[in-house]
């Protein structure tokens, strides 16, 4: 089975040392992505979704430490790998794009050269051949007049165009896995759709696995085959998309779905999730970090979290999961 996996994260734990204490940002995070599969990691701000990605990519803030876990990319454990091994892999087999594309690009370097840098580094191209290949990459991500645009600077381009450039940079070396951290935040709705389509098309063309990190459950539902739900540094549920929406078993997931606006919901019917994220610096954090806001809490919840596999591919970490609906799943939310 592991031969079919693009990435397998196992029991990843990360903590940050700050002035006000140690923040246990991630605890025992596990999930996997199959080759060519598109999954989404969803959760509210502070749930640890981005930290997971940064840890896997090896670009954590210096104050952060990975205290446990593995991240298997092919046969290589990214966490335990030496810098030289990582250098072969980062940007080449696993790539990442970020939110706020304008600030994520070098402001004083033409975008064509930023793409060329990656092509030279990972694609084995010479300095002479790289610029032309960069122009082709720009064309592949749908930028019109790529020859002229290659000489442009990020401040001369719109947010959507900058995001396309970032995609070009990330995909230049044809990675087997792309992590997209909130790639459409800050873009207008039309551009969002266009960018998501672009990523999806390119992923299909290249047989590339994708991890979307987002707080937008609806977006995740539209674009991914599986969804991993995170809360306060834990993975609380993971299931195929349709399954998740139809038969969410973790109370938090249910609240998330209920809180997601769609065309049918009116504003006053929007439900908010009660409570807030617990302070992750506390030394007395309960094993289930949702328990303090959970309406279904019982005594058993004081035990360490289980990782119950329900059906195949559906995992939930809860002592008191929602009951499975008796009838066949109704049509999922639009």
């Amino acid at each position: 089975m592991s031969a079919d996996l693009a990435l397998s994260v196992e029991n990843l734990s990360v903590e940050f040392r700050t002035r006000s204490g140690v923040v246990r940002a991630l605890e025992n995070v596990s999930f996997s992505v199959a080759k060519g599969e598109t999954i989404a990691i969803v959760g509210e701000s502070g749930s640890g979704k981005s930290v997971t990605a940064y840890a896997v990519m090896g670009i954590l803030d210096p104050a952060g430490r990975i205290t446990a876990g593995r991240a298997m990319l092919g046969g290589l454990d990214l966490i335990a790998a030496k810098p030289r091994q990582l250098a072969q892999v980062r940007g080449r087999q696993i790539a990442m794009i970020f939110q706020n594309p304008r600030t994520a690009l070098n402001p004083i370097r033409p975008v064509g050269r930023q793409i060329a840098d990656v092509l030279i580094r990972h694609g084995g191209l010479t300095r002479r051949a790289a610029p032309a290949a960069a122009v082709e990459m720009l064309r592949a991500v749908g930028i019109t007049d790529p020859v002229r645009r290659a000489k442009a600077y990020p401040f001369e381009m719109s947010g959507g165009m900058c995001q396309r450039v970032m995609i070009a940079i990330a995909l230049a070396a044809k990675p087997s896995l792309l992590i997209a951290d909130e790639p459409t935040t800050g873009l207008d709705v039309t551009t969002q759709a266009v960018i998501m389509d672009l990523i999806g098309d390119l992923a299909r063309e290249m047989g590339m696995a994708t991890i979307f990190i987002t707080h937008d459950l609806a977006l995740a539902g539209q674009r991914s085959a599986r969804i991993v739900v995170m809360h306060a540094g834990h993975v609380v549920e993971a299931a195929p998309t349709k399954e998740l929406f139809a038969r969410a078993r973790h109370p938090y997931t249910a609240e998330l779905i209920a809180a997601t606006p769609d065309s049918a919901t009116s504003l006053d019917a929007l439900a908010a999730i009660p409570g807030s994220l617990p302070d992750l610096r506390r030394s007395d954090l309960p094993p289930c970090r949702y328990s303090e806001r959970c309406p279904r809490k019982k005594d058993a919840c004081a035990q360490p979290l289980p990782h119950t596999a329900l059906e195949t591919n559906h995992m939930v970490a809860c002592w008191n999961p929602l009951p499975a609906p008796l009838s066949a799943p109704s049509a999922s939310a639009a």
Partner: protein, 337 residues
């Protein structure tokens, strides 16, 4: 790009006007009778009256100002009492000495301070970082003339490595034929390596003194700027793209970090031009700084006024150059239509 340069040059004009007005006031609004100052300490009432007439000090102030500006436009800065020579000629002949010294000191300073600042930022918390911090604080506290004297004592008196601090060239050598006025360059042009080495030997201690003095702001700004850039989103992207350490630090981080450092150079020049005067006194350097100091001691006012004006105009020109350089290097400024 030429329009940007032209535009920036134009903004300098009000500043120049202010400078000319201030230097005018400095010598006309003296307490007491300006004529007495310009006539010198050994003046008789007749010579004072003569000076008053010849310098037009009996005319109303606005008229004096017009004459002053007119004189400036013709390069007339008055005459020195001590030598009787036109101040302008003296300043022009002494300027290369000061310029060579200042530039030499600045180059040494940047060669040390910039790598120090970069390393301190890249290896935060290491001994290099602490050294950088200490250097920055110490550099700001050391009086520049004290540093100069210390260097002379250690390297000339104790170790005997440096030549006596008696000016640009040892007595046995003659200056190379003048092309730029910079002994280092002129001696190389003339192919005279003996003189080159001698001139360099004389330059080292005063240059080092100036360098130590200007290390602090440059190192501090480089470190701070580098730290900010290393924490930026685009460096994170560069790292995530797996670019080599060299590319990330040099091509992505360093070039961006240098922008604020260029701006800092303006402030550094303000310190350097002032420190120049003190260093020239310690090392008997025949530049315009020591020219002004000698004139001050002799109560010879025209050279002092000429000196202040020249320094101010040079400083304004330097700042303009830095501004333009920044505009050329930063595309965001260059391309803003």
């Amino acid at each position: 790009m030429l329009t940007t340069i032209a535009k920036r040059t134009v903004t300098v004009i009000p500043t120049l006007i202010g400078v000319i007005i201030v230097t005018f006031l400095l010598t006309r609004v003296l307490p007491g009778d300006p004529a007495v100052y310009f006539a010198g300490p050994a003046a008789t009432p007749e010579s004072i009256a003569d000076i008053r007439k010849s310098l037009g000090l009996d005319k109303p102030l606005p008229e004096q100002f017009v004459v002053y500006v007119n004189d400036l436009a013709h390069g007339n800065l008055g005459n020195s009492l001590a030598t009787g020579q036109p101040v302008m000629a003296e300043i022009a002949s002494r300027l290369p000495a000061s310029a060579e010294l200042t530039l030499f000191g600045l180059i040494i300073s940047m060669v040390i301070a910039i790598p120090l600042g970069i390393l301190a930022a890249v290896k935060q918390g290491s001994w290099i970082d602490h050294t950088c911090r200490v250097v920055a604080t110490a550099g700001v506290s050391l009086p520049v003339f004290f540093t100069g004297l210390l260097l002379v004592y250690v390297f000339y008196f104790l170790l005997g490595w440096a030549p006596p601090p008696l000016g640009r060239l040892d007595v046995f050598y003659t200056a190379p034929p003048q092309v730029t006025g910079f002994y280092l360059i002129d001696s190389l042009i003339a192919g005279d390596f003996e003189v080159f080495r001698a001139a360099l030997a004389q330059l080292i201690l005063p240059g080092l003194t100036l360098a130590i003095f200007s290390l602090a702001p440059i190192a501090r700004m480089t470190r701070a700027s580098m730290l900010a850039v290393l924490a930026s989103d685009y460096v994170r992207t560069a790292r995530a793209s797996g670019l080599s350490s060299y590319t990330v630090i040099v091509t992505y981080a360093f070039r961006n970090a240098m922008l604020p450092v260029i701006t800092t150079l303006g402030m550094v020049f303000s310190f350097l031009l002032g420190a120049n005067v003190l260093v020239e006194k310690v090392f008997a350097w025949p530049g315009i700084g020591s020219f002004a100091v000698e004139a001050l001691i002799a109560s010879d006012y025209a050279p002092v006024q000429g000196f202040v004006l020249t320094m101010a105009i040079m400083y304004v020109a330097l700042n303009l150059l830095i501004d333009i350089l920044y505009g050329v290097v930063d595309p965001r400024v260059r391309l803003e239509a």
